[in-house]
């Protein structure tokens, strides 16, 4: 039996006065890739932010590797270190003078009190390995302000990979990558789950990608409408339930015959 990396029970999260996510339950096993699909405003990013403790929750339980997340979002540092997160819109001030090597190094640190020069050599090795995995080693001395959108994504993925973790949460991560970059990105995710047992949870609007690469799909529209294999969850009935019947008619017209 596979280890449960993330367990969500009857989770409800409010944004302002309305329930953006209501009564959602599911779990993620080690070595699996799960997609969350749903229309805009369905609560996908809200769900992810509640899992990470960025947003408070009104009801329900979240546990990571068997450790419960308290309402305020606190987790033991050693458990927190097992989670990597790549946000949808990585907004940052491009005038901040930080190099690629420095940014990726921040993913390696435990972020407690430490001397600035502590573990410098170990960090540098880990950073270079992670950058090599995403084919971005040549960018290491560049300021992040000079990176293209696709390069920024690859560097952020290296920030996630630089420390061996158990749970990777991606919010529309491949957006901005070219065809080759996207293909390499999914190969890398496949290696992470197969060889290192990472559990991957990704929000996606690309249903074809979800069919090809994911093991399980959660259909969300404020509440969890269905969950199962891509074939089950992305059936016309379930898509109609999640997105509305108009979408399904259009989607099927666009699919290759």
């Amino acid at each position: 039996m596979k280890e449960v990396v993330l367990a969500i029970e009857r989770l409800t999260v409010y944004r302002e006065a309305y329930a953006a996510v209501q009564d959602v339950s599911f779990s993620l096993d080690a070595g699996t890739d799960t997609a969350i699909v749903g229309p805009n405003g369905a609560g996908k990013s809200t769900l992810v932010q509640a899992i990470l403790g960025i947003l408070p929750r009104q009801a329900g339980n979240i546990s990571v590797l068997g450790q419960p997340l308290i309402r305020k979002g606190s987790l033991a540092p050693e458990i927190r270190q097992q989670i990597a997160y790549l946000p949808q819109n990585f907004l940052f001030d491009r005038r901040i003078p930080i190099t690629v090597e420095e940014l990726v190094g921040l993913g390696w640190d435990k972020l407690g009190l430490q001397m600035p020069w502590a573990n410098r050599r170990k960090r540098r090795h880990a950073v270079r390995d992670a950058l090599a995995q995403v084919d971005a080693l040549h960018l290491r001395r560049q300021l992040i302000s000079g990176l293209s959108g696709g390069e920024t994504k690859r560097v952020l993925l290296a920030y996630c990979l630089v420390y061996p973790r158990r749970l990777l949460i991606l919010d529309e991560a491949p957006a901005g990558l070219d065809v080759r970059g996207e293909s390499e990105f999914y190969q890398l995710l496949y290696r992470l789950k197969q060889e290192q047992g990472w559990a991957i949870l990704q929000i996606s609007h690309d249903l074809d990608m979800v069919r090809r690469h994911c093991d399980r799909v959660l259909c969300l529209n404020r509440t969890l409408l269905c969950q199962g294999t891509p074939e089950e969850s992305l059936s016309p009935d379930n898509l109609s339930l999640t997105y509305g019947s108009e979408f399904v008619r259009y989607h099927h017209r666009c699919l290759p015959q």
Binding site: Q49, L52, G53, I54, G73, S74, L75, P77, R80, I83, Y85, P87, F90, L91, F92, D93, R95, I96, P97, I98, T99, E102, L103, G105, L106, D109, L111, L113, Q114, M115, P116, R141, L143
Partner: protein
């Protein structure tokens, strides 16, 4: 007067204890301002330090009204004021610059009304506005040195957390960083640095010590760590050069230091060759 005679005069001037204290005070203020300033400008809090400086006048005038030494009132007032402003910024949905403008102009107005009741202020409004670095005493230096040590330890030990917080708060929260605790600690330190610096530099110029060296360092630096170090270094170097210029040409010290900071800033942004300095 020959150059040799002029140099002798400056050297003799710096043998006076008051000038030595002024130089040391300037260096300490420059180091602290530059170090915290490097984060202040990246977090777009430059106007916050300005508002804090101007609002200090209210603290001083309230101290005078209730008969307490303004120097004693200034620091607690600056810290409470900074925490109050941070609370308002988090609670209201107003634009930061608009809210700060309301706070600083209204506290300045109230301060002037209060000073009107106090009557003539012995310390002199001029000294309050433009500072008097020669009035820096040993206890001020000691407090500045302790504050510099606290700032260095705080920034040094949490440098990587501060970097992530400055870059993207969501990434920091996802890693378990308590954003509000770090923000409060930083704001309190910034308030103390501004409060301590007011005596030497004055209400009007204090924000220059926080903003200008950091902006110059941004143009000179290629990594985040070097940026923080260069910013603090430029703060101290500006104080030394500014004090020497002030002594040589018999100019007011605070404005001389700020003009020196401006000169370094212009060199940093207009001379591309300087960019290799902090690779």
């Amino acid at each position: 007067m020959t150059l040799a005679a002029e140099l002798t005069r400056i050297i003799e001037l710096f043998q006076l204890p008051a000038m030595q204290r002024a130089m040391l005070g300037g260096i300490l203020t420059g180091l602290m301002g530059g170090m915290l300033g490097s984060f202040t400008i990246l977090r777009q809090l430059s106007f916050f330090s300005d508002a804090l400086g101007h609002s200090a006048l209210l603290g001083i005038s309230l101290g005078l009204l209730i008969g307490i030494n303004p120097s004693v009132v200034l620091l607690p007032f600056a810290v409470l004021f900074a925490l109050g402003v941070t609370y308002l910024l988090e609670r209201t949905r107003l634009w930061t610059d608009a809210l700060l403008n309301i706070i600083y102009s209204s506290s300045l107005a109230i301060a002037i009304i209060v000073l009107n009741f106090v009557g003539r202020y012995k310390g002199g409004l001029h000294n309050l506005l433009f500072g008097d670095i020669l009035a820096v005493r040993e206890p001020d230096l000691l407090f500045s040195a302790v504050l510099l040590l606290v700032c260095t330890v705080f920034i040094g030990l949490t440098l990587r957390t501060q970097m992530l917080l400055t870059l993207n708060e969501s990434l920091a929260i996802a890693r378990g960083v308590s954003v509000s605790a770090h923000r409060t600690a930083f704001i309190v330190l910034l308030a103390l640095v501004v409060g301590v610096s007011i005596k030497a530099i004055g209400v009007l110029l204090v924000s220059a010590f926080v903003v200008i060296p950091a902006c110059a360092a941004r143009s000179l630096s290629r990594t985040f760590t070097s940026y923080v170090v260069v910013s603090a270094g430029l703060g101290a170097l500006s104080a030394i050069v500014g004090m020497l210029v002030s002594a040589a040409f018999n100019l007011p010290s605070g404005p001389s230091i700020v003009t020196t900071q401006l000169a370094f800033f212009l060199i940093a942004i207009f001379i591309p060759q300087t960019k290799f300095l902090a690779h």
